[in-house]
Amino acid sequence: MSEQPHAEHAASGPHVNYLMIFGALCLLTIMSWVADEVGKQMGGTAHASADAHAPAVAHEPAAATGGFNWKILIGGIVLAIACTKATFVLLYFMHVKFEGKWIWAMLLPTLILALAIPAALTPDVALHYYTVETPQADEYANQQSRPEHHPDSPSNTAEGADGKVPQEKHPVTPEHPAKPAEGKHP
C-alpha cells in the first residue's frame, strides 16, 4: 500500500529516458513542419495562392503538377507523423508499454470505434452518391464563368435595413457578377 514507498519505487520500475522521447517528439514536429513547407514548394497551391483571382478555397493541384497530388501525399505524411508521435506519448509518457494486457483490452475497442465513426460517416457525408446542392458554390461558379457587366438596376433600399440579416438574396443566379477583389483580402 501507499505507506511502503520502497516497494512502490521498485514497482514503478520502468526507467524511460524521457529526454530522448522528448527529442524524438520535437524532431517529428519539425518534420511535419518541413513536410508542409515542401508541400508548399512542390504543390504550389496548398497555401500560397499563385493566382490572385483564384477563390479562397483549395483547388486540386493534380492538374497543375502533372497528375501527382502532393496535397494527399503531404497529408498522409503529416498524419503518419502524428500517429507516430501519439504512439510515443501513449507508450512512454502514459506508460502503456509497462501496463498489463488489460490496457489493450480497453484501448483497442475504443480505437476501433473511434475509427469506425468517420469510416461509417464517409459514405453518407463525405462521399455523395447524389448531386450535392451547394448554393454558394453554384453561385461562385456562376460568377466566375459569366462575363462582367454592370446592370444599373435600381435598388430597394428598404430591404436589408429592416433589422433582418439580408444574406443571399440572389441565391443561384446573381445579378451581380462582380469578380472577387484582387489582393483585397486582409
Binding site: 470505434l113 461509417a120 460517416l121 451547394t134 443571399e168 438574396k169
Partner: protein
C-alpha cells in the same frame, strides 16, 4: 472489506485520489452522519440507488401523464380533457393544440427515456445491486456516484422549465432532428425550449458518463475474492456491458449536442445546410449536413436502446433461474450473446435512417448487421425458455413479471425484424407499427422486468416484503391493459397511420381508425392508473410490509448473504465466493439452493458430486 485500510482519510473524499477502495471504508465509522449526509447527499450506493428508484418512479408517472395527453388527443381530438384540460390549457378552451401535441409526445419520450428507463436500470438497480452482488462495500467512487444522481436534477429542472418559456417545450421529437431543432424559427418549440432540452440532455449525459465509469471500475476491480468474471450473476454482466455501451457511445451524443447547441447559439453550421429559408427567416449560410446529426445521434441512441434493455435482461435471467429453481440454462452463451448484442448494437444505428436519404450502400450494410442481432437475441430467448422448462416454477410477482418480459420481448423483437428489412421499413417507417415495436420492447419488456426487479429486491432494500396480492393485481391489470393499448398499434401501422400527427383523421383513409384509437386510449388510461397500485404497494410496504430475513427467496446471490437492509459497508462477514450464482436444485443438498459463499470441504465435495 479490507479492514486494514490506512488511516489517511484526508483525501478519501477525492475520487481521483482514492488509492484503492481501501480508503473508503474509513468514513462512516466513528462519527454520526447528519440527516443530509445520510439521506440526501449520501455517498452510500444503496441510498443513491433508492434515490434513483424513487425519482424514476415519480418521473414514470409524469411521463405517463404526458402519454395520456397524447392518447386523449388521438381518441377525442380537440375536445376538452376532463379535469386536467381546464387546469392546463385554459386559454385554448381546454384543448390540446397541435403545437402542444408535438410537445407532449416529444417530452413523453424524453422523460421516459432519459429520466425513467435509463436511470431506473443503470441508476437505481445498477447502483443498488452492483456492489452487493459482487461483494464490495461500496462503489469505487462514492462521491462521483452521488454527483451522478444529482446531475439528474438539473435535467429534470430544465425539461420542466422548457414548458414555461416562450414557444413552449421542445417539439422536434426526442430525436431532435435538424433543421427543426437547429433553426429557431422552425417551430414554436424550436425556440428556447429546444435549447433547454439540449442542456438537459447534456446533464443527463454527464450523469450517465460518471455512472458508467464508476460501474466499470467497480465491476472490474472490486469483486470479492473468488468472484471470477464467469461467476458473476447475469445482472452484473448486463450492467457491465451496459456501462461499456454507455461510456463509449454517449460522448458522441454529448459532442453532437454541443454542436447543435453551437448551431443554435453561436452561429456555427454543422447541421444547417446552406441556402435554406425557414419561415421567412434569412437564408442560411454555410454548408453543414442535417444527415450528419442523424448519424451522430443514432450512434449513441441505438446503443442506448440496448442500454435500455440489457440490464433488464440480466435481472430477468436471475429471477427466472431463482423462481424456476433451476440453474440458468446456458450461462456462458447468455454472457456471450449479451456481449454480441452490445457489439452489434454499435454497428446497426443506420436502420433508423433507411428513409432519410442515406447512401443505399450503407442501408444494405445496416440491414444485414441488424438482422444479425436476431441471433444473440434468439439465443437469449431460448435460454430463458430452457431455464423455465421442467423447472419447479414458483409464480411469485417477480416471476410473472419476468415471464411477461420474455413474452413481450419476443413480440417486440419479432416486429423489429420487419423494420430491419429496408423494403418493409420503407412502408412502415414512421407509422404506428414502430410505435408498437418500441413500446413492446421498452414497456413490455424493460418495464415489466423492472416491476419484477422492484418486487424481487425490495426485501433487500427495506427488510420487508411487498404485498404479493397487490403485486399480482397490478401485474394482471397492467399486462392486459398494456396489450390492449399497444397491440392494436400494429394494425394502425399496417393501415398506414403515421405517428406524430395531432389529427390523423384529417385524412379520409384514417377515419375508420378512430374507434380503435378510442379503445386504446381507454386501455392506456386503465394502465396508467394501475401504476398507482404499484406506487401504493411500494410506499406502504416500506412501512407496513411483512418483515423478512436475509434471504426471503432462497436465492444464491451474494446480496442475499448481507443483512436486509444492508448497513454501511454492506456485508457483516467478508464474502468469499466458491461458485456461480445459479446452483439451484443441486442433487443431495438438503435445500434446493446453494449460495455462492457456501464453502464445502473437500471430502463433502465428492459426495455432492457423486450423489452419496
Amino acid at each position: 472489506m479490507s479492514t486494514h485500510a490506512p488511516a489517511d482519510t484526508a483525501h478519501a473524499h477525492d475520487d481521483h485520489d482514492s488509492h484503492g477502495h481501501a480508503a473508503h471504508d474509513s468514513h462512516g465509522h466513528g462519527h454520526e452522519l447528519s440527516f443530509f449526509q445520510k439521506y440526501v447527499f449520501s455517498t452510500d450506493h444503496k441510498v443513491i440507488g433508492i434515490q434513483f428508484l424513487i425519482t424514476t418512479l415519480l418521473m414514470l408517472m409524469v411521463g405517463g401523464a404526458l402519454a395520456l395527453g397524447v392518447r386523449w388527443q388521438l381518441a377525442y381530438r380537440f375536445s376538452t380533457m376532463p379535469i386536467v384540460g381546464q387546469l392546463v390549457f385554459a386559454n385554448e378552451g381546454g384543448q390540446i393544440s397541435p403545437e402542444f401535441y408535438t410537445m407532449l409526445f416529444t417530452m413523453h419520450a424524453t422523460v421516459m427515456i432519459f429520466l425513467v428507463i435509463i436511470p431506473i436500470l443503470a441508476g437505481a438497480f445498477g447502483n443498488f445491486l452492483i456492489p452487493l452482488m459482487i461483494g464490495a462495500d461500496d462503489m469505487a467512487f462514492p462521491t462521483l456516484n452521488m454527483l451522478s444522481y444529482w446531475f439528474m436534477w438539473p435535467a429534470i429542472f430544465f425539461f420542466g422549465l422548457s414548458f414555461f418559456v416562450e414557444g413552449g417545450a421542445s417539439s422536434g421529437g426526442w430525436t431532435n432532428y435538424p433543421p427543426l431543432s437547429a433553426i429557431r424559427a422552425a417551430a414554436p418549440g424550436s425556440q428556447d425550449g429546444q435549447t433547454l432540452w439540449l442542456i438537459g440532455v447534456t446533464f443527463i449525459g454527464v450523469s450517465s458518463m460518471m455512472g458508467s465509469v464508476n460501474y466499470m471500475t467497480t465491476i472490474i476491480n472490486m469483486r470479492a475474492p473468488g468472484m471470477t468474471l464467469f461467476r458473476m450473476p447475469m445482472t452484473i454482466w448486463a450492467m457491465f456491458i451496459t456501462a461499456i455501451l454507455q461510456a463509449f457511445a454517449l460522448p458522441v451524443l454529448t459532442a453532437a449536442g454541443f454542436m447543435i447547441l453551437a448551431d443554435r447559439t453561436i452561429g456555427t453550421c454543422f447541421f444547417i445546410p446552406g441556402g435554406l429559408t425557414v419561415n421567412n427567416t434569412p437564408t442560411t449560410v454555410g454548408g453543414g449536413q442535417a444527415l450528419l446529426w442523424q448519424h451522430l445521434f443514432w450512434f449513441y441512441s441505438h446503443p442506448a436502446v440496448y442500454i435500455m434493455l440489457l440490464p433488464a435482461m440480466g435481472m430477468v435471467s436471475d429471477m427466472l433461474s431463482c423462481f424456476s429453481r433451476k440453474p440458468l440454462f446456458g450461462y456462458k452463451p447468455m454472457v456471450y450473446s449479451i456481449a454480441a448484442i452490445a457489439g452489434l448494437g454499435f454497428i446497426v444505428w443506420g436502420h433508423h435512417m433507411f428513409i432519410s436519404g442515406m447512401n443505399p450502400a450503407l442501408g444494405m450494410t445496416f440491414m444485414i448487421s441488424t438482422m444479425m442481432i436476431a441471433l444473440p437475441s434468439a439465443v437469449k430467448t431460448f435460454n430463458w425458455l430452457g431455464t423455465m422448462w421442467g423447472g419447479n416454477i414458483q409464480f411469485t410477482t417477480p416471476m410473472i413479471n419476468s415471464i411477461a418480459f420474455v413474452s413481450m420481448f419476443v413480440v417486440g423483437g419479432l416486429s423489429g425484424i420487419f423494420m430491419a428489412a429496408v423494403p418493409v421499413d420503407i412502408y412502415i417507417h414512421d407509422t404506428y407499427f414502430i410505435v408498437a415495436h418500441f413500446h413492446y420492447v421498452l414497456f413490455g419488456a424493460t418495464l415489466f422486468g423492472c416491476f419484477g426487479a422492484i418486487h424481487y429486491w425490495f426485501p433487500k432494500m427495506w427488510g420487508r416484503m411487498m404485498n404479493e396480492t397487490a403485486g399480482k393485481i397490478h401485474f394482471v391489470i397492467s399486462f392486459i391493459a398494456f396489450n390492449f393499448t399497444f397491440f392494436p398499434m400494429h394494425f394502425l401501422g399496417a393501415a398506414g397511420m403515421p405517428r406524430r400527427l395531432a389529427d390523423p383523421y384529417n385524412y379520409p383513409y384514417l377515419e375508420h381508425l378512430l374507434p380503435l384509437n378510442q379503445f386504446m386510449t381507454w386501455s392506456a388510461i386503465v394502465m396508467g392508473f394501475a401504476q398507482f397500485i404499484l406506487l401504493a404497494n411500494f410506499f406502504l410496504s416500506i412501512k407496513y410490509g411483512k418483515r423478512v430475513g436475509r434471504n426471503p427467496w432462497n436465492a444464491n446471490g451474494l446480496e442475499w448473504t448481507a443483512p436486509s437492509p444492508p448497513g454501511h459497508g454492506n456485508f457483516d462477514i467478508l464474502p468469499v465466493v466458491y461458485r456461480g450464482p445459479y446452483e439451484y436444485a443441486t442433487p443431495n443438498l438438503d435445500v434446493d439452493y446453494f449460495p455462492q459463499t457456501q464453502y464445502v470441504p473437500v471430502e463433502q465435495r465428492v459426495n455432492v458430486a457423486h450423489g452419496h
